[in-house]
């Protein structure tokens, strides 16, 4: 890789020849402010916050897109650049509804941080304090408030470039520009997949998830309700970020302690049903493999992926596993197995999950998700961020929380379940079980490293009892589309495919703690977070789903066998094609 020598604020450094001024400055230890820049996703030089002085250039340059050259002299802090940034910030603030004290992003808003850094005491234009909210809430997962939008276009870029959906974009122009969907229809009327990636990259409070915490508080306060909570694997890898822990810290123990202190009657782990999923889906896979069933079998635990499949690639519905997602299985098991075990009326059991995911808010009300007495399997689901808010509300001292264990009734799980949260984790977990069942032998190595890592599409093949089993893993819908197109075109053949809605898997889910642009652009948060899960798995005694005693017990006492009739009643579901533009269908009927 070739390099060039440049000077940053008088200091000589050597940086890659294809670097930008922003990256060169960062390498020299200087942070140039950005608002719209998202590396590899949104590189448009639009917000003008990164304007920097380069000797000899005509005017200031946008550091995020301006390429370095040999001998370039960069001044990141000249008075001219500072003034330009401050004026631009003032203009942006003049058109941004100032509701900082009560805004959900208070203290975590990138615009607020810059305003503080640049000493914005006075905004001489517009009427930011008198602006009215401009709310759009037509989906179960998202609230958009365009009065806070700074038009950085990061949400548009992830939706188009990472998630292959492109359902949002700028409408109108000039000062009237606003982010919306085609023909200014509601988001619920277009083919949104509820993945929430847009929320993750929004620098302000313009995009936020629908808040379900008040319903959880209500349930917790209701003496008649037996409230249980299940946590997703990915939550323990990220919850600490909300409280200042370094990225990639595994806070499982504290998370459980916090949940106990919130007043849940049962603090359980969705990892248990993740193991259950492996048993069910593994059985399904073996059955298809040995009986000429539809292959490849594609995983079904990601509701964002399911939404994508039903709307964009309905021809692959027959490939999807009939298993519910671990969350939905959790709800069903709580209201059947667990309620029976404790002698509770299922109606009195209120099931909550903490998920890294916003699509889960859509999933809990899908058709065919009420296995017990017509009750919804799941009552509520909250994101990692919402849990953090609940914890903060109680005034708990995070740093003083002890390490506690999950409640034993539904708290024993394998390392295979833990790695569900990373892209490739479900595949690896399934392989550990499927390979042992098919070969009848114990696996020498449990680490299927070929399916690990943050590449968008991963492929591997394994010789299993004489059959070359070919697998593929994709995360993020742009990669899923590429993979599916390849399969459709007959260019590749697989037996088993794992697809996760969010790039990198659930650790990068739409409900995870939001990292600002200046972290996302320079730190590989996905690898760090996934690392927490793989580390936990490596240290666990039980690393295979089928050897967990609790799982064995659930089958022997309750479900019978994997794939049994009872298992199908509780733990399986079906899918159907969904029109991309239901609003248009309705219009056609009207006219």
């Amino acid at each position: 890789m070739s390099t060039v020598k440049v000077k940053v604020n008088g200091m000589q450094i050597e940086c890659p020849s294809d670097a930008t001024v922003l990256e060169a400055a960062r390498q020299a230890g200087f942070r140039i402010p950005t608002l719209c820049y998202l590396k590899g996703i949104n590189e448009i030089g639009a917000c003008r916050m990164c304007l920097t002085e380069v000797k000899g250039a005509k005017g200031l340059v946008a550091a995020c897109v301006y390429p370095v050259a040999e001998g370039m002299e960069i001044n990141t802090n000249s008075q001219k650049a500072y003034d330009a940034r401050k004026r631009t910030l003032e203009l942006i603030l003049s058109n941004h509804r100032m509701e900082c004290l009560t805004c959900v992003r208070n203290q975590s808003c990138e615009l607020q941080a810059l305003a503080e850094e640049y000493g914005m005491e006075e905004v001489r234009f517009g009427t930011p304090k008198e602006m009215q909210p401009d709310i759009e809430q037509s989906t179960p997962h998202l609230i958009r408030d365009n009065s806070k939008c700074i038009l950085c276009r990061r949400c548009v870029a992830v939706c188009k470039n990472l998630q292959h959906a492109a359902v949002i974009g700028p409408n109108d122009r000039g000062f009237s520009t606003h982010i919306g969907s085609a023909f200014d229809r509601d988001l619920g009327e277009v083919a949104c997949i509820n993945c929430g990636q847009c929320i993750n990259v929004c620098p302000t409070g313009a995009l936020t998830e629908v808040d379900s915490t008040y319903k959880v508080w209500e349930a917790l306060a209701d003496p008649k309700k037996h409230v249980v909570v299940g946590t997703a694997p990915a939550v323990r890898a990220t919850l600490g970020e909300e409280f200042g822990d370094p990225i990639g810290t595994n806070v499982q123990g504290k998370m459980v302690a916090a949940l106990h202190r919130l007043g849940f009657d049962g603090v359980f782990d969705v990892d248990v049903t993740a193991d259950l999923t492996i048993l069910e889906e593994g059985t399904e896979f073996i059955h298809r493999l040995q009986n000429g069933g539809t292959l490849p079998l594609i995983t079904s635990c990601s509701p964002g992926w399911i939404r994508f499949c039903e709307q964009y690639y309905p021809e692959f519905i027959p490939n999807i596993s009939s298993c519910k997602s671990p969350q939905q299985m959790f709800g069903a098991m709580m209201k059947s197995y667990y309620a029976d075990k404790l002698g509770l009326n299922p109606e009195d059991v209120f099931v909550v999950t903490v998920m890294p995911c916003t699509a889960k808010k859509f999933e809990i009300r899908r058709d065919d998700q009420s296995a017990v007495n017509g009750l919804w399997d799941m009552d509520e689901t909250i994101t990692t961020r919402e849990l953090a808010r609940m914890i903060r509300k109680t005034g708990m001292d995070w740093s003083a929380l002890p390490e506690e264990d999950f409640d034993p009734d539904f708290g024993e799980f394998s390392g295979a379940a833990v790695i569900f949260g990373a892209s490739g984790g479900v595949m690896e977990a399934a392989l550990r079980t499927v390979v042992e069942i098919l070969t009848g032998e114990e696996l020498a190595k449990l680490d299927f490293v070929d399916v690990r890592g943050m590449e968008g599409i991963k492929e591997a093949s394994y010789d299993v009892a004489g059959t070359l089993v070919k697998v593929a893993v994709a995360s993020g819908m742009e990669n899923a589309a590429k993979l599916l197109d390849k399969i459709k075109a007959g260019e590749a053949e697989y037996h088993f495919v794992e697809i996760m809605g969010c790039p990198g898997g659930c650790i990068n889910g739409g409900g995870q703690p939001i990292q600002p642009g200046n972290v996302r652009n320079f730190v590989d948060i996905q690898t760090l977070r996934a690392g927490a899960l793989y580390s936990e798995d490596a240290l666990m005694k039980m690393r295979k789903s089928h050897e967990v005693p609790l799982i064995k017990k659930i089958y022997s006492d309750y479900l019978g066998e994997p794939g049994s009739h009872r298992a199908h009643e509780l733990l399986h579901t079906s899918y159907k094609a969904s029109p991309k533009y239901p609003g248009l269908e309705a219009d056609k009927k009207k006219n």
Binding site: A46, L91, N95
Partner: protein, 597 residues
């Protein structure tokens, strides 16, 4: 026996078309048939003659008689008197022709004397819908020369030596732009033509496309040869349906003749052309926004580098030139670069087409050598301000340009001189203002345009132009302060220096320029709360003069808001709180008793 002895040329530009020139042509054909002259006299529809103030224009050759403001009813007279009997119809003449009207060459009229039509050479001369006529006037001769006698490098050298600079406004040396693109690796490259012409009041490109489309087609093919491209796109605003139609006809005819398409003139060189329509966005006249629009995306500019000559349309090396720039290319090839660079100034060579508009007698299109002074344009060519009003300023470059005050009327019109005084040549729009124009109102008008047309991508332009406009609006309503002027200037400089593209970078120019030369007028608005020109409604009052009013009640009767009160034969008065300053009363008063102050 072919004895067509007279050609009657009728202007078919959009302006004259709107004034019924097609009907005039039809009437000529009818009348000529009635008089049995239809095989001797040919009626030809041409492009724009330039003297749009006096359209529809009809020119009769071989005499060169220039009839102006012709109505359909006049046709019979022209046919019977002039074409049949040889008697020029004096009443219908363009008034500057001499007594005979015959001897006076068109070129000697004040309007045309100082002009040197190169880009407009065929406008008003040929029928743009007949490729043979274009060929008769040398169309595609230069292309043949380039393909058979010159290497691509030689073509670029000729253009560079001519000194031709981009006529769309930026003034970048055309030869150098082609050189960069030629040096970029192929094999796929593109040639684009910017026919979006968004400046209000500008119609130079429109007239070229309506009057001589083959000039542009030929030049694009030459450009393709020079840089190594085989595909061109003409991006034309959809609001020019006549130009689009003429272009489509021209392209079809050119393809039929094989001068556009595969194996042009049998030389093995391929060059194909497509038209792409704009959709009403001024910003799509910006280079990278135009390309983004052709690619099918929302027309927003992209940061540079990379520059289009390296990575442009579809990420391939691309050149984008303005219509007028292209209109000069073939002429330069045919006549040699020296014929072009002998005109103009040291750094601004050749001629430039200006669209004269506003408070000037001879509105229309003029093509003059670079370096002609503003005074010559306004007083000699333009005929001065009508109604004896005093010249106040001229706005060049439209919404991206600055104003030239009367004190600088001897400024030469070239790139350097304009830049020195804070204006730009721009695309060629030249709006003349007189003492009755309020300069603050003019600045507000232009800013409203750029504010509305801002694409919205970058913060300084999107929000800055709006905030600037709010301040200007405040000022014109009499609510401004001196501090507002300072803030306005600060904002203007910020938007100019920090916007992503040329729209934002030039939008503050009218404001900065008028603040520089007419600060006293701004101060009158904010300090004295007066509009000296009597335009800003918030600052003027309509008053009835007691010594002139005879109480005829004419004004009260036409007032749409009943703001005028008074009894018959008694002095009337206007209630300023109700008055909407529409001016109906002034128009109705026969005694000059109502004034604006």
């Amino acid at each position: 026996m072919n004895f067509v002895r007279s050609h009657v040329l009728v202007c078919g530009g959009t302006g004259c078309t709107a004034s019924k020139s097609p009907e005039i042509i039809a009437e000529f054909n009818t009348q000529l048939k009635n008089c049995g002259l239809d095989s001797e006299v040919r009626v030809v529809q041409t492009g724009c003659f330039g003297l749009c103030a006096l359209g529809p224009i009809v020119v009769v050759y071989p005499e060169g008689t220039y009839y102006a403001q012709i109505k359909v009813e006049d046709v019979k007279t022209i046919v019977e008197e002039h074409l049949l009997k040889g008697r020029i119809v004096q009443d219908l003449l363009f008034k500057e022709a001499d007594a005979h009207g015959v001897e006076q060459s068109l070129n000697n009229t004040d309007f045309y004397l100082k002009q040197h039509r190169i880009a407009l050479r065929n406008c008003g001369v040929i029928n743009p819908e007949e490729i043979d006529e274009a060929i008769a006037f040398d169309a595609y001769k230069a292309l043949g020369t380039c393909l058979t006698e010159k290497t691509p490098q030689e073509v670029i050298e000729i253009i560079t030596e001519s000194g031709l600079r981009g006529r769309g406004g930026a003034g970048f040396p055309t030869g150098i732009k082609w050189k960069f693109a030629a040096a970029s690796p192929g094999p796929v490259k593109y040639v684009c033509c910017n026919a979006d012409e968004g400046d209000p009041g500008a119609f130079m490109d429109r007239s070229v496309l309506e009057g001589d489309p083959h000039a542009v087609l030929e030049a694009m093919a030459i450009a393709g040869y020079a840089i190594g491209a085989s595909q061109g796109y003409i991006y034309i605003r959809a609001e020019y349906p006549l130009a689009v139609k003429r272009l489509e006809i021209a392209i079809a005819q050119a393809k039929e003749y094989g001068v556009i398409g595969k194996n042009i003139l049998g030389t093995g060189f391929d060059f194909d052309l497509e038209i792409r329509l704009g959709a009403g966005a001024f910003v799509c006249g910006e280079e990278t926004a135009l390309m983004t629009s052709i690619e099918g995306h929302r027309g927003e500019p992209r940061p540079r580098p990379p520059f289009p000559a390296v990575k442009g349309l579809f990420q391939k090396p691309t050149i984008l030139n303005n219509v007028e720039t292209y209109a000069n290319i073939a002429w330069i090839i045919n006549h040699g670069p020296a014929a072009f660079n002998c005109m103009g100034t040291e750094k601004s060579k050749g001629t430039k087409v200006f669209a004269l508009g506003g408070k000037i007698k001879n509105t229309g299109l003029v093509e003059i050598p670079m370096g002609t002074t503003l005074r010559e344009v306004v007083e000699d060519i333009g005929g001065g301000c009508p109604d004896g009003k005093k010249f106040k300023a001229a706005q060049t470059g439209g919404p991206s340009g600055g104003c030239i005050p009367a004190s600088l009327i001897d400024t030469p019109l070239d790139y350097e001189s304009m830049a020195a005084i804070g204006s730009i040549i721009g695309s060629g729009g030249l709006i003349v203002m007189d003492e009755d124009n309020c300069i603050v109102d003019i600045a507000k008008f232009f800013l409203q345009f750029t504010m509305d047309e801002s694409c919205g991508k970058c913060s300084p332009c999107r929000i800055g132009t709006k905030r600037m406009y709010e301040i200007l609006d405040k000022i014109t309503q009499g609510k401004g302060t001196l501090e507002d002027l300072d803030i306005l200037e600060e904002l203007a400089l910020h938007v100019k220096e920090n916007s992503l593209c040329g729209l934002g970078q030039t939008a503050p120019n009218p404001v900065l320029s008028t603040l520089r030369y007419f600060r006293d007028e701004y101060e009158a608005h904010v300090v004295d709360k007066k509009c000296p020109a009597g335009v800003c409604k918030g600052l003027v009052e309509y008053k009835i003069l007691s010594d002139k009013c005879i109480g005829c009640t004419a004004c009260a009767r036409v007032c749409p808001v009943d703001a005028i009160s008074g009894k018959v034969k008694e002095v009337h008065s206007i209630d300023p709180s109700l008055c909407i300053k529409c001016g109906s009363c002034i128009a109705a008063c026969k005694f000059g008793a109502i004034i604006v102050e």
